[in-house]
C-alpha cells in the first residue's frame, strides 16, 4: 500500500481481555517495528522484524505481549490479559531493508483498557 496501515485505530477493552493489533507495512518494506507511546511519554521500542523473524524482542514489557509477522508483510501484536497500564498508542513503522533508511510510521492504534 501507499503507507503503513494500522487497525483498529481505536480499541477499548476490558481489563483481562486479549487484544490483537494489526499492522500492514508499505509493500516491499522488509523491516517492521512496533513502538508504544504512553500518554505524554516518548516512544518505547517493543519489537523489530526483519522479514518474518524477530531478531530483537528486547522491548516487549512482559510475556503477555507477543508479535508475529507472516509472509514478510502483515504483523499482529497480541496483548493477553490486558492491564490498565497497557493503555497507550501502539505505533507500527516499516523501513526498506534497514532502519537507517528511515521509518514510515502508521497512524497508530489507541488502546484503552478499562
Amino acid at each position: 500500500g501507499a503507507g503503513v496501515s494500522q487497525s483498529p485505530s481505536n480499541k477499548v477493552t476490558e481489563k483481562g481481555k486479549d487484544v490483537e493489533l494489526r499492522c500492514d507495512p508499505i509493500s516491499g518494506h522488509t523491516a517492521l517495528y512496533w513502538y508504544r507511546q504512553s500518554l505524554g511519554q516518548g516512544l518505547e521500542f517493543l519489537i523489530y522484524f526483519q522479514g518474518n523473524s524477530a531478531p530483537d524482542k528486547s522491548g516487549l514489557p512482559s510475556d503477555r505481549f507477543s508479535a508475529e509477522r507472516t509472509g514478510g508483510s502483515v504483523s499482529t501484536l497480541t496483548i493477553q490479559r490486558t492491564q490498565q497500564e497497557d493503555s497507550a498508542v501502539y505505533l507500527c513503522a516499516s523501513s526498506l531493508v534497514r532502519v537507517n533508511y528511515g521509518y514510515t510510521f502508521g497512524s497508530g492504534t489507541r488502546l484503552t483498557v478499562v
Binding site: 517495528y33 516512544l43 530483537d56 534497514r98 528511515g102
Partner: protein
C-alpha cells in the same frame, strides 16, 4: 551509551516568532544517522529530515532549518516565523549503524499561540 537528549520538554511561542528545538546525542559509533519527526495532535509521526554522520552541511527547507554540529554532538532544529500549524511534539532520533532500531529522544512539545 547511545542516547538522545531533548532538554526542552515544552516550549510556547507566539506566532511568527522563531524557535529552536535542541537535540544532543551520544553514540559510540562513528557512522550514524540522525532524524527529526513531527507528531501533530492527530498522532501520526511525520518524517522531517534524515542526516548521516558524514554530512555536516546545514539544511534549509522552507521555514525549517537544521544545524548539525559533530563537535558538540548536536542536531538542532529551527522553525522560522512559526505558525499555529507547527504546534506538535517534535522528536529527535538517532540510529547508530551498529543498531537496527531507532533511539528516540523524549520529545519537545511546541505550542504556537496565535
Amino acid at each position: 551509551a547511545q542516547k538522545v537528549t531533548q532538554a526542552q520538554t515544552e516550549i510556547s511561542v507566539v506566532e511568527k516568532e522563531d524557535v529552536t528545538l535542541d537535540c544532543v546525542y551520544e553514540t559510540r559509533d562513528t557512522t550514524y544517522y540522525l532524524f527529526w519527526y513531527k507528531q501533530p495532535p492527530s498522532g501520526e509521526l511525520v518524517f522531517l529530515i534524515r542526516r548521516n554522520s558524514f554530512d555536516e552541511q546545514n539544511e534549509i527547507s522552507g521555514r525549517y532549518s537544521w544545524n548539525f554540529q559533530k563537535s558538540t554532538s548536536s542536531f538542532n532544529f529551527t522553525i522560522t516565523a512559526s505558525q499555529v500549524v507547527d504546534s506538535a511534539v517534535y522528536f529527535c532520533a538517532l540510529i547508530p549503524t551498529s543498531y537496527d532500531k531507532v533511539i528516540f529522544g523524549p520529545g519537545t512539545s511546541l505550542s504556537v499561540i496565535p
